[in-house]
């Protein structure tokens, strides 16, 4: 057993996992404030990346300006989605809202295809591709940057959910009717959660766009992001981070063992297995809230 190689796999797996977490935090934000799993988070991430590209490459703005500006635009888009689409469905069965988010995802994918076409474009963040050396271990710089962003957002949102606005959002997720009864604006709260998730989508879009190029395939990150969010417990931001690390390591190390046996492609299998097993064995995930039942 080559311990150095194994730890390299584990460390890079953990870093990749944190990038999944970066994506999953957006899912958790919306779930935490409205109890809706947002299937359009992949689409939002892709749009976020395209908006950054449009501002930087097409309009010629520098990246340090383009990214915050894209965040502002996406913040508005998140609010817009609530206003135009979700508000009508408030209080309806979750499955209808779920279908709506799925439709939204397809719509966003189609829109970017119509505007920017389907050719993969590069983000050109300017992060060096020279790997970092930690002893004998290779580490990708862009993964390290992305992991840092994920942890930064994690800390920011942990604090946010203890603020008064954050508590109101958690209250909304608990009980729409009771929230209305004490004057909490459920509509505005859900809108805010979508707006914040859209900002997270910009962060995830930039990092993932740098790693795999900007095209419609970015929206497929949903599968891994959803697996991470479910494993962590859909409403736990800490869960998203821990589960991201776990999934990243399991995927990276596991596929290294399995790939020679099955001839490649075992990554997807591992992710799928984790998702299915979580739902079967521990449906509320590692840190998710239980439904409280008093005896």
């Amino acid at each position: 057993m080559d311990w150095i190689f194994l730890s390299e796999l584990a460390i890079n797996g953990a870093l990749t996992g944190l990038l999944y977490s970066l994506f999953a935090i957006g899912l958790v934000l919306i779930y935490k404030a409205s109890s809706v799993p947002n299937l359009a988070q992949g689409g939002l991430t892709m749009v976020g990346a395209y908006v950054v590209l449009a501002l930087s490459h097409d309009a010629g703005l520098p990246l340090w300006l383009a990214i915050p500006l894209a965040a502002v635009i996406m913040f508005g888009l998140g609010f817009g989605i609530e206003r135009v689409a979700l508000r009508r469905l408030a209080g309806r069965p979750v499955v209808m809202i779920l279908m709506l988010t799925l439709g939204l995802d397809i719509f966003l994918r189609g829109t970017t295809l119509a505007i920017w076409g389907g050719t993969s474009r590069s983000m050109e963040l300017g992060v060096s591709y020279e790997p970092l050396f930690m002893g004998d271990i290779f580490i990708s710089r862009i993964h390290l940057v992305g992991a840092g962003v994920a942890i930064g957002l994690f800390v920011a949102f942990m604090l946010f959910f203890r603020s008064r606005t954050g508590i109101k959002l958690r209250a909304i997720a608990d009980d729409y009717m009771a929230s209305w009864s004490v004057g909490i604006s459920v509509e505005r709260g859900v809108g805010l959660s979508w707006a914040l998730a859209s900002v997270v989508a910009v962060a995830a879009g930039v990092i993932w766009g740098e790693i795999q190029g900007v095209d419609q395939a970015l929206s497929l990150l949903l599968l891994k992001g959803l697996t991470v969010a479910v494993l962590g417990g859909l409403d736990s931001i800490l869960g998203a981070v821990v589960a991201g690390i776990i999934l990243g390591i399991v995927e990276n190390v596991g596929s290294d063992f399995l790939d020679p046996l099955v001839g490649g492609g075992s990554r997807e299998l591992i992710v799928a297995a984790v998702l299915i097993l979580t739902v079967m064995i521990r449906p509320h995930g590692l840190f998710g809230r239980h439904d409280i039942e008093r005896v």
């Binding site: 009864s181 004490v182 004057g183």
Partner: protein, 270 residues
Amino acid sequence: MQEKVEAQPILSMNSVEVLYDNVMLAIKGVSIQVPKGEMIALLGSNGAGKSTTLKAISGLLKAERGRVSRGEIKFEGTDITEMLAQTRVEMGICHVIEGRRVFEHLTPDENLTAAAPMGMSRSELNVEKEKIYNYFPRLAERRNSLSGYLSGGEQQMLAIGRALVTQPKLLMLDEPSLGLAPFLVAEIFGILQKINQEDGMSVLLVEQNALAALEIVSQGYLIENGRVVMHGTAEALKSNSDIQEFYLGGGEGTDFHNVKHYSRRKRWLS
């Protein structure tokens, strides 16, 4: 007491009709008045339209696809019939909905924070919280545990406390005694009475437990089949023979009496 009765009502509802899904008529021309600073009870059996009446006042009908199709509701002289629920809370109407419905995954302390109006400063909120913990010392003890694990009585206290944070002028409660032991009902009703007397908060209380309710309110309305069928002071209602027979169980108040008279009452009404 006399001048209170003559003052302008804080809430008046005139021949209000409510439709659910545009077809089902849930209340058919209900008119009630809540004089400022008084406690009023809305009595009646299951499905009589009491909860719908409260939801029409608080604006929560919309969430259940109901709407006021006729009549008007005035709060302190302003027509609120079409206002958003949120605006009505800001104006000073708070509705403690049926079944407690605390935010289960939040602590009692966070439940109170969640209900705080956006304009309330941190220090004001803390003063308000302390006041509520004074009314309900049991909540203070458990302020940092998860609300979903509180007992039924504690949850009801929290639901009331959460409503008080919004600083209502009119507090409406839907069946606060439901499923609670008699000594808890007495405790909660006692606190309601205290809040009413100390702060001059007007209270509209919906109850099936007519016996307990009539002990603390000044007037009561009896609703059956979506209509007000009787209105009078608590004393008058208590001594009314029909009320005694059908709602107070001959003055003994055991549930078995109510069950026995149920079918008879229906015949009497129709």
